[in-house]
Every structure is written in structure tokens, then in C-alpha cells.
């Protein structure tokens, strides 16, 4: 998918939770939202993007959440073409 679109969507999620004064809670909430509502290929793509580029256009809590997402929960589900 268009990575710029994914980055924009992730940053929008970050904007909502950034209002929370507790940084850790904000990061945790961003990660939970991504896990609960993004299809695995979308998560996989943005994780890869962070690995490959450092995610310079991602807001810091979002980048942190994406990296945490990778470490906390494996991205399950098959990739297209797995069958």
C-alpha cells in the first residue's frame, strides 16, 4: 500500500493519543489501536518501513508504538500468496 498513506493514518492515531499526559499510556494506546484495527499486511508494511528508513516522518510516539508492536506481538496472519 501507499506508505505515505499508512504513515499519515498512523500519525493521525498518534495525534489523538498524544493528548494523554502519560507518555507510556499514549504509546501503548497507539499500539493497541494499530493491532486491533489494522490488517496484518498494513502493520507489516509500516514496521518494515520503520526498519528500512527509521520512519523519519512518523511522530515519535507513533514510531515507538510501531517498534513496540513488533516486539510485543507477532504480526500473525498469512501474507497474500501464502496458500
Amino acid at each position: 500500500m501507499d506508505i505515505h498513506h499508512l504513515v499519515k493514518m498512523a500519525n493521525q492515531i498518534g495525534d489523538f493519543f498524544a493528548a494523554y499526559p502519560d507518555h507510556d499510556e499514549a504509546v501503548r494506546s497507539i499500539g493497541m489501536h494499530l493491532k486491533n484495527s489494522w490488517e496484518p499486511r498494513m502493520r507489516r508494511q509500516i514496521i518494515d518501513y520503520v526498519h528500512q528508513t527509521g520512519g523519519p516522518d512518523l511522530k515519535p510516539p507513533v514510531r515507538e508504538a510501531i517498534l513496540g508492536l513488533e516486539s510485543r506481538t507477532a504480526v500473525s496472519g498469512e501474507a497474500p500468496g501464502d496458500d
Binding site: 500500500m1 501507499d2 489523538f16 493528548a19 499526559p21 486491533n36 500473525s76 497474500p80 496458500d83
Partner: protein, 941 residues
Amino acid sequence: MLSITDRDYGTPPEASATMVELFIDGKPISVPAGTSVMRAAAMLGVRVPKLCATDSLAAYGSCRLCLVEIEGRKGYPASCTTPVEPGMKVLTHSARVADLRRNVMELYISDHPLDCLTCPANGNCELQDMAGAVGLREVRYGYEGANHLHSPKDESNPYFTFDPSKCIVCARCVRACEEIQGTFALTIDGRGFASVISPGQNQPFMESECVSCGACVQACPTATLTEKSVIDKGQAEHSIVTTCGYCGVGCSFKAEMKGNEVVRMVPNKDGMPNHGHSCVKGRFAWGYATHRDRVLKPMVRDSIDEQWRAASWEEAIARAAAGLKRVQQQYGRGAVGGITSSRCTNEETYLVQKLMRAALGTNNVDTCARVCHSPTGYGLKTAFGTSAGTQDFDSVLKTDVIMVIGANPTEGHPVFASIMKRRLRQGAKLIVVDPRRIELVKTPHVAAVYHLPVRPGCNVALINAMAHVVVTEGLMDEDFVRERCEAADFELWKKFIVQPHNSPEAVAEIVGVPAHDIRGAARLYASAGNAVIYYGLGVTEHSQGSTMVLGMANLAMATGNLGREGVGVNPLRGQNNVQGSCDMGSFPHELTGYRHISDPVVRAAFEKEWGVRLDPEPGLRIPNMFDAALDGTFKALYVEGEDIAQSDPNSSHVVAALRAMEFVVVHDIFLNETARYAHVFLPGSSFLEKNGTFTNSERRISMVRKVMPPMAGKEDWEVTMALSNALGYPMEYKHPSEIMDEIARLTPTFAGVSYAKLERVGSVQWPCNDAAPLGTPVMHVGQFVRGKGRFTITEYVPTDERTGPRYPLLLTTGRVLTQYNVGTQTRRTANVMWHGEDRLEIHPHDAEQRGVRDGDWVTVTSRAGAITLRALITDRVAPGVVYTTFHHPETGTNVVTTENSDWATNCPEYKVTAVQVMPLPAGRAPARREAPMQAHAPAAK
């Protein structure tokens, strides 16, 4: 005229708990205090003759036909206007009252055509019935005197005629327009014998303020106001109760039939959402169901560049299954998906998500609620614990302050708007939050105390400012917050909301509303005994749609306006089954009843019932499907009842995605825009041709009944079932009731729902289970579904869609009363007489700056695309804001809307698009899109 099966008690019921015992014709009866003698008699089965009385209207006492004798009273009181009294002894029939009634009737008939045999009301005419009831045998006055027998007919309305020669001036039509509809379009002009019914200022109906709701037609006791369909076809011979196929009010109707042909649709007096009322769409605009454009045979083609070829059901289903399987084999399970419409029944949407999850092994299933009310689901579930409005419709009759935000009820939810207007006429106060001056702001006998013309995209700043006022001015309901809400979340929110940047003064310039109006509106809302919020897509279709829903929930909790009648937070759903389609597990991350797919306990129940393993990960949402298609990882789609190529934002993007797919199956009643890109077309069935249920905006589950056989041979649930069987996953339902039984087994909030119960009680509002066997009209009484209510910090984040030198205006979109959504149905009815094209509303100042005159063709350009339509200059929109509808494919309104979307749900931001508007150069033909039917009709067979 009333429904052929209605029993008319003459005057409305009374709700008093005090009972009064009296005697009518010697028989004792006990009725609520305030009941009329006429109604009490009708309850005993005694029919007192009447003409001006009907039980949908307040007693009027003009026709003098219902005179009775009451022991100990002088004269002959009208039974409709005489309330019962303890011990009263009434005589409904005597020689004296018979004489009086006959004399009255004689006068009526002396000025009435004697054409009963050829009259369209023959067989269902109250005047005819009364002439028989009073034993009229002669008219001593003759017919040669002054009369109205040659008054010309008004046939301007496409759906009914007005024949004044048959009018008895009972004023039932005038009163229906006032009391039921609240439009006040009719009056009685003149006095005495010269009295006539006058639409507007003695205008034809179509030129008056009449909104064609049909309340007058239903109230008329003669053939004066008659449906043209009745004139054409004659009286119906049977009647079937069903549910309207249009908006989220979900009106109950009686389909009056001759064999398999609909003669007319009459709103059901016993229908809970509508209490016998309707709008122009539900009552009259049903002709699309048998329109010649209906596609009645399955069609197939190998490529979207080929002509369609008619096929048998077997071939088409086999091709659809083979195409989906082939794509999955080649690209993986996640390369296919399904989309359903909120026009589908609960059973149909349930079945499609089951097909996707169980037969195809993917959670890539979504419903069109994605693009309208998905933020409602997220917001209300987060705050209260469940994704639905809190009240039943009738709750509005107990409210003191109504706040309407981003909704236009008189256009989008007209029947509920009539109930709302009734409450406002009784004295409730109104706050309207909308960029446009919608009709409700000032309409006969209704005026908003505050109209806050919020700038598109700024709702959250406004609601935060209102909450700031509530907290800083000590207007909170401290007890409610302490007892009913999470303390820690509340404290966090309170610290946030009192910050100066949330004050009305700080945001006034941003939102475009003076600070004192924001303060005034907040005080009014917070100080009411009961205050309620109704909202629509003007809330949800924003990049902060979910935040705004949370903001409204915060405000309602802070002021204690939840958990009883007259209060609450209530989405007005656009389509008839938005609530139901969301309930049915149609979102890619949720199973039925809003339970996340990752929950192993919930998943296990479905796995056991369905006999398959389910993927625990969320699937793709509709916009994600389009993005994945363009990325090459999403290749096949099954779409039931939804025209994504016209209704979804940034049409060019959607079309590119559809073109990028290898296999598309469209299942619809018409060959819509999306079908241009399809390989298999499966003909659908309209709401008249199938059984099922719809769930309306107040969570009310109502029966949809098959009144005629499916024109293409199959009900939609049968088609999905056939597809599943062809895919190798057996489905063997014999009736949709079995699908509902399965839903009830798997869904705690539906555990008590069954067709048998719906047949018995009419309708129920979920939750319906052992704890609430007859359903739940008001939610969150005593405690929230989630336990304690949750306050959430709702920081205002401006949308990326901003005006600038290139696109200096903000476009917002909406709908009109006579058209429905993308117009697939209503454009194929006479409703086009009211709205034949989309127009761009532009403020006189903005028009003048651009040299645009009323009616000029203009081009609207955004960063997504450009469209051409004609301008309508009006100060209903504020300077800097333009508005249009999206009912006509020739306009292609969604070519200019962008794929900007809500942060939580990806609901598109239809309501905010930065645009430029310029007049079309003289001599240049407007660029219009081709109407779909002309563009890709199948080759004639």
C-alpha cells in the same frame, strides 16, 4: 383514506393511569381518564358515526355526526369532544340522534358528487359508509343550488390528486399537516359555504410548501385526496405489514396489495418508530422496485471491456465461486473481500460476513457503515460500552432541550423530525449545530434558540468549548459523574477541558461561532431538566469523527444526561439498516454484537457453530481494500447492494482500485456504477421481495416481509447461500428465521430475538435477552454497559484538508428529502420532479466574487478532481462554505471528495473538502458523467 385493515377509534388514546367507569348503551366499560366518549364506545365495539374524527388527530367536533345522548345532560353533545366521566350513561343510538345525523348527512350529500360507482374511494370511503350508517334515503334540498361540484382537480402532485368537488371540509387534512407532519402547508380558506382547502396561498400542491408526506391523503375520509395508484388500480384486497426500505427511522408500513402487485404503502398506525406517519419516499417512492431498469437475469463476462451475457443462476454462481477461488489460489486468502450495504437485511449481512470468514477464510469484510457511522461505533463503545444510540425515538417527547449536531432531520429523517417538531411546538428548546441554516433552524412554529454555524472540520473545538463552559461555570452534574463514571479518567479529562485553549473565547474564531453563543448554548443544554443530542454524518464524516462522538459523550456524562427518558446521545442513521449491519459482525475486526475477532472465547463460539477455524486478525476495511488493490495484493471483491464507485470518496481512486482487481462480483437490483467493473452480476431482490429484519436507529428490530415473489427468482440470502455452497462451504437455511436463530445463539444482545417473538410483539429493541425479554428502549439505566462511563481526552486536531489560495472554499455534502443516498432507487421514481439534479449552494458574496449567477454552470475543483454542476445562490450557507448533494451519477460529486478519513475508523471526511468554484466559460458544454444504464446496458437478448 385509512388502511383497509385499520380500526379507527375516533380520537387518540389517553395515557392516564386513573380509570373511569361509565356505561355506554347500558354496557359498563372502564377507560383511562380523558378518553372521549367516542373512543370508549369504539373500545366496546360500538361504532358512533363520524366524519371529522380519526384517532390520529385531536378531536375537532365540527361534523356533528357523532352526537349522542347523555343521561342528565341537555342537548346532544359530540362524542368526540366529550370526555368520559364516572358513572356517565351514554346512549349512542336513539330515534332523535338518528334524525339529527340523517339531517347532517343530507346536507353533506347535497354538495357531493353522486358518482360512487366510479369513484376511486368506492369500497373504502367513510362518507359512503356514514351515508349507509345513518340510513340516508333522500336529499330533500336537491343538487341544483350553489355547490362545489365543478371545482377543478389539482393533479400537480405525481402521487396523489386533490379533487375539491369531493371535499366535505372536515379539516382532517389540514390538521394532519399541522399535528402529524408539522409543515402547516394546508389551511381552510374562506368562511361558511365558501370554505375550501387551500395548499399554501391557494396554490397547486406542487407549488405550495407541501412535502408530500401523505398524512393528508391518509386522513382524508373521501376521495378528495387519493393516491394515483389507487385511482389506477382500484382498492387493495389484502395487506402485509413490513418495514420501509429507506432511512434509519425504519417506518412500519402496510403494503396494500392486489395479488402480487402493490397498490399503495400505508404507514402502520401500530408501528413503533412512526406511529402511522411516513415521508414522501416511504409512502410513495416504491415504484423503483418494478422499474424497467431492474436486471432480472444473472449476467457474466470475461472482461470488463466486453458486453454482458445473460446466464443461468447456476452458471453465474459457479463463475462467481470459481473466480473467488482462483484468486485465492493465486494470491492468497487475503486477496479477496466482501462489502455489504446497509440496505441489506440483518440476515443478509450476517450471511455475507459468514461467507467471508468461514467459506473464504478471511476477515476482509466490511459494510457501507464504514463510510457513514463507523465513528459512532468506536466512540459510543469506548464511552458507554456499546455501539448504539441510547434512546428510543419516543424519548424525545420527554425532553426539554434538543441539540441537533450535523444532522438535517427534516430532510434525512423526516418522520422522526415530525415527532421532534411536535415536542418543540410543546415548548422544548432547540440548539442546532450545523454549517448550513437547515430547515429546522426556523420552520413553522419552531425556531432554534441557538444556531451555531460551525465551520466544517471544527466540531471538536466547539464541543470542547461547550464542555469547558459546563465545567468552569459549575454546571456539571457532580453526583452523576461521581456515581456513574470512571473517576481517574474523569479527572484527566477535567484537567484537559478547563485549559484556556478550550474556552469559547479561544476557539470562537476557529469554529466561526461567537463565544457568547457557545456559552449560551452550553448553559441551555446543561441547565435543562432533560437534554438530548441527536447527530448525523455532519459529526462522523470527519478526520476527527470518532473524537467528536467521544466529545458529545463527555458532555452528556458531565451533565448527567444519560440513563433515562428524554436524554441521551443518539445517532440518526442514514440508511434503514446501518445499525443492523454494524450489529451483524460486518466490520473486519468484529463478530456480531461488537466483539473483537481476537477474543478467543468469542471466536471459539463461532468456530464451534460454523465448524471452521477463524483468523484472529482484523481484516481490511473498505478504503484499505482499495489501497491494497492498487498495491496489487487485493484482487477480488463481492459487493452486495452497495455502489462503491459512486458513493465512496475520491471516485477516481475507487475506480482505479476496481480496475486493478481481477474479479468483481456485483449483487444488486440495478446495474449500478460499480457494475461497470464487474465480471459477474447477480440480480438482487428489493425489500418487497424478501423476508428478513432491519434494525433502525433506535436499535429496533422489525420484520421485513416478502409481499411479492423475487422478480429474479431468488431472495438475496438465497444467493449468498448458493455462492457459499458453490465454494464448498455448506449453508442450508430454509428460511431467514433460521439465520436469526443462529445470530441469537451467538450474540448475547440478541439472545431473546426470534421471528416468533417479532410476529407476536411487532418489534423489539436490543439488548433483548433473559434480562430484557421484550427489549430495551433506553440504555444505560442505573449503570453503563461497560460498568462506569469513560471520559476521554478529545484534543482538537485540525484536518489536513485546509483552504488556501488554490482551494479557498470548503465543500460540504448532504442530502435532500426527496432523494435517497446515490439515488439508485429514488431517481427511478417521480421524486425527480422535486430534485432532478444536484446543485451547488453558494453564498451570494462568494458567487459575486466569481461572477456566478443563479443557475450558472460552475466547475468545482479539489485536489482529487473536478465536477460540473449548476449553482444555487443562497445565504443558507455561510460565506466560504459551499454545499451540494450526491444523488445523481451525472454530477459525480464524490469525484472531488478526498480519501482523508477519521483517525480511528477510516470513515471518509466527506464533509470537508477544500475546493475552488469557477463559472464555466461561456459556450463551453458542461462535462457530465454518463448515467450508468445508458453506458453499459447489456446487449439485447
